[in-house]
Amino acid sequence: MKKVFGTPIVEYIPAAVLGVVTIVFLATAYTYPAEARAFPAVIGWVVIVLAALDIVSRSETGMGRAFKNALNPGSAATAATYSLRDQAGAMLWLAALAALLMAVGVLLAIPLYLFASLRFRGRKSLITSLWIAAAATGGIWLLFAEVLRVELYRGYFFGGA
């Protein structure tokens, strides 16, 4: 992986993203009346400084090492890493479940997601996948809809608001 100042470029991404988000946050804050923006503005500026320090402290330069020792001596080098593809995959499955729940509601999204996840991601047999998906959906329906009387979300396409 490409390195900048002796550190893989990916290590700088979180602080950089946070910096950008904070700039947008600050720009929005300054559209509010003085009293409503006082706290957000102070915190926003502080976070920008902290994000800058974080970027510097992650570099393998003299200053970077000094900052790290002063402010972050206990920080581990990054935790176990996985391939970008695997990580994106894991998040896509999660996003798909959330999107399904919103679109078609609980009682369709849950069995679909469970079955697909078990069959195509977990590579379980067709019977196992069907069995677990059906049992889990049944359990969820029993608990939420019957016992708790929580009206299960019907999904945007079926009249859910």
């Binding site: 009387r149 009206e151 396409f157 079926f158 009249g159 608001a161």
Partner: protein, 327 residues
């Protein structure tokens, strides 16, 4: 409200497709067997105040008074000064399964402050009033040296008198501003408390000098000698020895009242409205509700949808006069 209309229109057409019925038939079918499932009773206020108590007192009796057995589920949505709860009520399907308890005139102020994007109170279907229109009172902590309205006036000559209150929405805020204009007291508000219990406790604690709140929020605190009511805005005081609008020479104060009205989404079918109105009327006469209300110092006040709508009009007209001080 383009969003609201689109959503409702969408809900209706989805129903049409599914049941292969035209919209009007879909609605009238709903009327026949109302209520079909639990009723969501939105309380756009934090738990623990007068609003919350009223709904919880009436819910069991309302369940008994409806033609079919369903639960009435109180649902506190205090966010956005109550705007979120009222917005949610406004956008719900107008089938009677979503109701809300709305404070008037506070909600008109809220609607104006929030740009009217979320709801339009003039289109809400009013079912009935729930509590008697409640007068406001001025109170100070029992330990305070401010014991009369004249004491407050005297203090206001040296510095603004500090009143604890809710955020700029809400009837309590409006009542505080208007009453002090009428009484000629200079004020500074300490805002941001979460609900009436919270800002009344603020006054007891000494965060501010005084508080203006509905009478039921103050009565039990006076009984426990935690707080002293120094004036009520009733025409004739219901509390012995306490100054009222008449003795203060300000009859206009009597018009500062809190109305708690049951509302349903716009476009509620007349049949469903009638079923709900009669259920509420029966529920408010139910001995169980009456006993419970008495224990909690809440006064139930049944009236008709037309009377409720008239109260909304009167109240909003009075507060419109004072609008320039409120926004």
């Amino acid at each position: 409200m383009p969003i609201a209309i689109t959503r409702r229109h969408f809900g209706c057409s989805a129903g049409t497709v599914l049941s292969a019925l035209a919209c009007p038939e879909y609605v009238s079918a709903a009327e026949a067997d109302f209520p079909r499932h639990n009723i969501d009773f939105i309380i756009p206020k934090a738990p623990g105040g007068g609003f919350d108590n009223l709904v919880r007192v009436i819910a069991p009796s309302l369940e008994k008074s409806l033609p079919h057995k369903v639960s009435v589920v109180p649902n506190n949505i205090p966010a956005g000064g109550g705007g979120k709860g009222i917005g949610q009520l406004y956008r719900s399907k107008p089938d009677g399964h979503t109701l809300g308890l709305i404070d008037i005139p506070g909600s008109f102020i809220l609607q104006q402050r929030q740009g009217g994007a979320a709801f339009d109170l003039n289109k809400i279907t009013w079912i009935c009033s729930m509590g008697r229109p409640e007068p406001y009172c001025v109170a100070t902590a029992e330990t305070s040296s401010l014991k009369t309205v004249d004491d407050l006036r005297a203090l206001s000559k040296t510095r603004p008198v500090k009143f604890t209150s809710s955020g700029p929405e809400g009837t309590a805020y409006a009542a505080t501003v208007i009453a002090n204009k009428i009484l000629g007291i200079r004020i500074q508000l300490i805002t941001g408390y979460k609900g009436s219990s919270d800002f009344v406790v603020g006054a007891i604690r000494g965060d501010g000098d005084a508080v203006i709140a509905p009478i039921t929020a103050l009565r039990s605190l006076q009984k426990s000698k935690t707080l002293r009511i120094i004036a009520t805005f009733e025409e004739k005081s219901s509390l012995p020895g306490v100054a009222d609008a008449t003795s203060l020479g300000q009859p206009d104060l009597g018009q500062i009242k809190l109305e708690r009205l049951v509302g349903a989404p716009p476009g509620l079918p007349a049949g469903v409205k009638a079923i709900l109105a009669s259920a509420f009327s029966r529920a408010m006469g139910d001995p169980q509700a009456v006993t419970l209300a008495k224990k909690l110092d809440v006064e139930l006040y049944p009236n008709t949808p037309d009377q409720a709508a008239a109260r909304v009009r009167d109240s909003s007209a009075f507060f419109a006069k004072w609008q320039k001080y409120l926004t």
